[in-house]
């Protein structure tokens, strides 16, 4: 399953933090949460070791990648870590072949301004499935997952193929395992929660199933669900007049997500933004805004 997030801008740091982790600090308190920046200021080998914990080993071995060396059978580096000194972000990516379009895993974490952790990006792609170029217009301009510009032909094909908005390929079906691994990693760092802003209605629904609650936008999700019911204010605009506004879209999460991606919320003077979700580590919030929804 492929999930995208809105790419966040640089968070404004208001709380001064220690740039480095000293041994005495490590020794003093096992429960003190560490920031990504502190991790990134560790020696290279220590960083490498710690960030290995960000990706489930079984996901790597599934693609023939050694979980410790990060290499394939031909000894080529298949996993890439970007964790620069003094940076408050870390980006971990993995590909199933030397070809960069065979990337099957991408995860970016960042410190936020409240000493918490943001999951900026999580992309889980099945490289064995067809690729839909929703991420580029016909003349090659980036679409930012279809939020900046849209490649309507590719989107329609993707939608027919069963993808959700923002997906270039079918997902891996491993979001549960990946997010559980992430929680173990964050818990090791000493964090009790992490935050994200879901790119689409479909991703928000997936995150609800993974146990996320809302910092903002829970009411919006309830309103959206209500208005997509027959007789609702969004339902009436599923008038079959465009491939993204078909009546039957109301009955699935993906269908509603495509209509929202297509701008249907504007009919209610609303926009898909400012939704913020939170995951309490080790706890499931049990939110279900599209009750008994079919994906």
């Amino acid at each position: 399953m492929l999930k995208y997030f809105r790419i966040k801008q640089e968070p404004e740091k208001v709380v001064p933090d220690l740039g480095a982790i000293s041994i005495s600090l490590l020794e003093r308190d096992a429960t003190l949460p560490f920031t990504i920046r502190q991790l990134n200021n560790l020696p290279e080998n220590v960083k490498q070791r710690m960030y290995r914990g960000l990706i489930p080993p079984a996901l790597l071995t599934r693609f023939g990648i050694d979980p410790i060396q990060w290499t394939n059978a031909s000894k080529e580096q298949m996993v890439s870590l970007k964790a620069e000194e003094n940076s408050e972000k870390v980006l971990l990516t993995a590909q199933s072949s030397p070809n960069v379009s065979d990337e099957f895993f991408a995860l970016e974490l960042a410190d936020n301004s409240l000493n918490g952790i943001e999951l900026n990006l999580i992309v889980l792609n099945d490289p064995a499935t067809p690729r839909y170029s929703i991420d580029q217009t016909e003349d090659g301009a980036p679409t930012m997952f279809g939020t900046l510009k849209r490649n309507l032909r590719a989107e329609e094909a993707a939608m027919q193929a069963g993808l959700a908005p923002g997906q270039v390929r079918a997902g891996l079906g491993s979001s549960r395992v990946v997010l559980e691994q992430l929680e173990a990693f964050l818990s090791m760092l000493g964090h009790r929660a992490y935050f994200l802003e879901p790119l689409t209605y479909a991703s928000a629904w997936v995150f609800e199933r993974r146990g996320f609650a809302y910092v903002r936008g829970h009411k919006l999700m309830d309103d959206i669900h209500r208005e997509f019911q027959p007789g609702g204010k969004l339902y009436q605009y599923l008038d079959d007049r465009s491939p993204f506004r078909k009546r039957n879209q109301a009955s699935t999460v993906r269908g509603c997500a495509w209509a929202i991606h297509d701008g249907i919320l504007e009919t209610l003077d609303l926009r898909w933004d400012n939704i913020r979700m939170v995951k309490q580590i080790g706890r499931h919030a049990g939110v279900e805004t599209f009750s008994q929804g079919t994906y």
């Binding site: 829970h218 939170v278 049990g286």
Partner: protein, 144 residues
């Protein structure tokens, strides 16, 4: 701990009834929970959620309220977690219940009712939310 229960809803007024109903559904048949204790817990939850709805998420599309219920043989603990602005209990004046009507402010009873209804109140602002933890001790059936 005998049992734990959890329910999450969006922070708007229509959810008050749902939270109260959840408390009733899970606690009414618990040994030691009298009608008075049940009402006290529903009242405290209602007032606390009303505060979160009115102030906690003011100015934004509301987020979630998570209700956690821990039922023990001698006490029930209710936690309400939200992810909005933290509540400032010290800034709320206690209403004067003996004042004549001309001097009575119309508001300010919410926190007071929570204090009157529950035996212990704790409030924590943590990384995973603002938590109001309310405890009600149960009367033991043998009169202890």
């Amino acid at each position: 701990m005998i049992s734990t229960h959890r329910m999450t809803r969006a922070a708007y007024l229509e959810s008050l009834e749902v939270f109260r109903g959840f408390i009733k559904e899970r606690c009414a048949a618990v040994p030691g929970v009298t009608d008075e204790i049940l009402y006290d817990m529903q009242l405290a939850v209602d007032e606390a959620c009303t505060n979160i709805i009115s102030h906690g998420y003011a100015g934004m599309d509301p987020g979630s309220i998570i209700l956690d219920l821990n039922i023990d043989s001698d006490k029930i603990t209710i936690s309400l977690t939200d992810f909005g602005h933290a509540f400032e209990p010290s800034s709320t004046p206690i209403p004067d219940v003996d004042a004549p009507i001309e001097e009575r402010e119309l508001g300010g009873f919410g926190l007071f009712f929570i204090q009157q209804s529950m035996d212990e109140i704790d409030y924590q602002v943590t990384e995973d939310g603002n938590k109001m933890i309310l405890t009600k001790f149960l009367r033991k059936l043998d009169g202890g």
